[in-house]
C-alpha cells in the first residue's frame, strides 16, 4: 500500500481548472519528482495536498486514512504528517532563524524547548547554517533562507516532505548546497514529492517522475522511462526542450 495515494484530484482558481483528475501514488521511502512547464499546476498540486487550495473533487489517502479537506480535525491530522517547503520560503520575518525552526515543535507539538533547540542546532548544522541561529531572514541570502525553510520543515518530523522548486530562486553555486541536502534526505529514507527543474538531479534522486501539463498528468514512470523513452509526444517535446538549455 502506498504511503500517499492521490486519486482523481481536481482543483480550480475561480473558473480556471488548474488540476484535472490527477492520480499519483507515493511509496514509503520513495521520491516522486514533479516536472512540467511553468503554470502546469505543480505548486497547486502541493498546495492542494496540504489543504491551502481546496480540491473540488478526488481523493487523497494518507496510509489508510482519507484526508477530508472540509474537516478541520482531519486536515490538522494530515498536516501533522506532511511538511511543505514553499517556492518563496515563507519564513517568519519577525523571528530569528532558531525561532523560525523551533516555534512549531515547541508551541504546536509541545515538545520540550531544550531538546527541540538541541535538535535544531543539529539540523541547522546539517544544512550548513551553524553560525546563523540569531540572524533574521532578511539578513540571509536566498539559498540560506531556503535551507532554513527546509530545516523548519524537517524539525516537524514529517512522514512526507513536499519540496516546491527549492532551487529555483538560487544562483548555481547555491543550488549545489541545497541539492546536497535533499540527496542526503533521500538516502536517509525520507518520503518526498519534489518539484524541480534540475533534470540531472531528478534523474539521480527520483524513483518516479511525473510530468504535468495544463493541470493534467501527461506521463509517469521511472526516470529512465520518461527521460529516455517518453511514450507521449508532449513529454517527448518537453524533454527535448529541457535537455537543450
Amino acid at each position: 500500500m502506498p504511503l500517499l495515494a492521490i486519486e482523481g484530484l481536481s482543483a480550480c482558481y475561480g473558473r480556471l481548472k488548474v488540476l484535472q483528475d490527477v492520480s499519483i501514488d507515493v511509496e514509503k521511502g520513495g521520491v516522486v519528482a514533479l516536472i512540467g512547464p511553468s503554470g502546469s499546476g505543480k505548486s497547486t498540486l502541493l498546495r492542494a495536498l496540504v489543504g491551502l487550495t481546496k480540491p473540488t473533487s478526488g481523493l487523497v489517502r494518507f496510509g489508510d486514512e482519507t484526508i477530508r479537506y472540509d474537516s478541520a480535525a482531519s486536515l490538522r491530522a494530515a498536516r501533522r504528517r506532511m511538511s511543505i517547503v514553499f517556492q518563496q520560503y515563507n519564513l517568519f520575518q519577525n523571528m530569528t532563524v532558531l525561532r523560525n525552526v523551533t516555534v512549531a515543535p515547541v508551541m504546536v507539538q509541545r515538545r520540550a524547548r531544550a531538546t527541540v533547540e538541541a535538535e535544531a542546532r543539529d539540523v541547522l548544522a546539517k544544512v550548513g547554517l551553524a553560525g546563523k541561529h540569531a540572524a533574521y531572514p532578511d539578513q540571509l541570502s536566498g539559498g540560506q533562507q531556503q535551507r532554513v525553510a527546509i530545516a523548519r520543515a524537517l524539525m516537524l518530523r514529517p512522514d512526507l516532505l513536499l519540496l516546491d522548486e527549492v532551487t529555483a530562486a538560487l544562483d548555481p553555486e547555491l543550488v549545489g548546497e541545497v541539492l546536497d541536502t535533499i540527496r542526503t534526505l533521500a538516502a536517509g529514507g525520507m518520503t518526498m514529492i519534489v518539484v524541480s527543474h534540475e533534470m540531472g538531479f531528478v534523474r539521480e534522486v527520483a524513483d518516479t517522475v511525473v510530468m504535468m501539463d495544463g493541470g493534467k498528468v501527461i506521463e509517469a514512470g521511472t526516470p529512465a522511462e520518461l527521460f529516455d523513452h517518453p511514450k507521449t509526444e508532449r513529454a517527448g517535446a518537453f524533454m527535448a526542450k529541457v535537455r537543450r538549455p
Binding site: V50, G51, L52, M82, S83, N90, Q93, V103, A104, Y136
Partner: protein, 228 residues
C-alpha cells in the same frame, strides 16, 4: 484690546486659575488615554472577530462590521448625546466623566479597529499559509506572527487618531465634564477676555497634540522600511 489684555494677564495667571487649567489638562489627557487604551483593546477584539472563520461566528462577524461602519459615520457629539441620555435613563447617578469615557471608547474602538485591521492585512499572506500548514492555533498566529509585524504599520496612524481624540474630548465640555475646554468657557464667563482664555487653552492643546503628531510622522518614516 492690548490694554485689556495687559490688565487681565496678572489676574488670569493666578495659582488657582493655573491649577484649574492644569487639572483640566489632566482630565483631557486621562479621557484621551482611557479612550485610546480601551479603544485599542476593543478594536483588536473586533479585528479578531472579523478575521475569524467558521459559520458559527458569522452573526458575530456581521455585527462587528456593522458596528465599525456605523460608528465611523456618526459625529462624536451625537454619540455623546446618545450615551449621555441613555445612561442617565438607566443609571442617573453615573458620572459625566464615565459617560464621556464610554462615548469616546465607542468611537475610538471603531476607528482603531480599522487601523489595526490594515496592520493585520499588511502581514504577507505567505507567512500565514506557512503557519497554517504547521498547524499553528489561531492565538499563536496572532501572537507570534501577526502582532510582532503589524504593530509597525498600526502605530503611526493610531497616533494620528490619538491626536484626533485629544481634540474630540473638547466636546465633552458640552455635557459639563471639567476638561480644558470647559475650564476655558468657565473662565471666559467669569469675565476674562476670550482671546486670553482661549488663546491659553489652545496653546495647551497645541502643546499636547503637536509633539504627538510629530512623533507619529517620524515613526511612520522610521518604521516603514525595516522589518524586524
Amino acid at each position: 484690546m492690548l490694554a485689556l489684555l495687559a490688565e487681565q494677564i496678572p489676574r488670569f495667571f493666578t495659582w488657582s486659575n493655573v491649577a484649574f487649567l492644569a487639572g483640566a489638562a489632566g482630565t483631557t489627557l486621562l479621557l484621551t488615554a482611557l479612550g485610546s487604551g480601551i479603544g485599542a483593546a476593543a478594536g483588536l477584539a473586533i479585528v479578531l472577530v472579523r478575521t475569524s472563520r467558521g459559520r458559527l461566528l458569522l452573526p458575530l462577524r456581521a455585527a462587528a462590521v456593522l458596528y465599525v461602519e456605523v460608528f465611523r459615520r456618526i459625529p462624536f457629539i451625537v454619540v455623546l448625546f446618545i450615551v449621555l441620555f441613555s445612561i442617565q435613563a438607566v443609571a442617573p447617578d453615573a458620572s459625566l466623566f464615565t459617560i464621556a469615557v464610554i462615548a469616546i471608547c465607542l468611537v475610538s474602538t471603531a476607528f482603531l479597529s480599522e487601523v489595526i485591521r490594515a496592520g493585520f492585512d499588511s502581514v504577507p499572506r505567505q507567512q500565514l499559509e506557512a503557519a497554517a500548514v504547521m498547524n499553528f492555533p489561531r492565538w499563536l498566529v496572532v501572537w507570534s506572527v501577526i502582532l510582532p509585524q503589524a504593530w509597525k504599520v498600526v502605530l503611526p496612524p493610531a497616533i494620528a487618531f490619538l491626536v484626533m481624540f485629544i481634540k474630540d474630548t473638547a466636546l465633552a465640555s458640552q455635557m459639563g465634564v471639567v476638561e480644558l475646554t470647559f475650564v476655558g468657557k468657565t473662565l471666559n464667563n467669569r469675565g476674562f477676555s476670550s482671546l486670553l482664555v482661549f488663546g491659553t487653552v489652545m496653546l495647551i492643546y497645541f502643546a499636547i497634540s503637536w509633539p504627538l503628531a510629530r512623533l507619529g510622522r517620524s515613526l511612520e518614516k522610521h518604521l516603514a522600511p525595516s522589518r524586524h
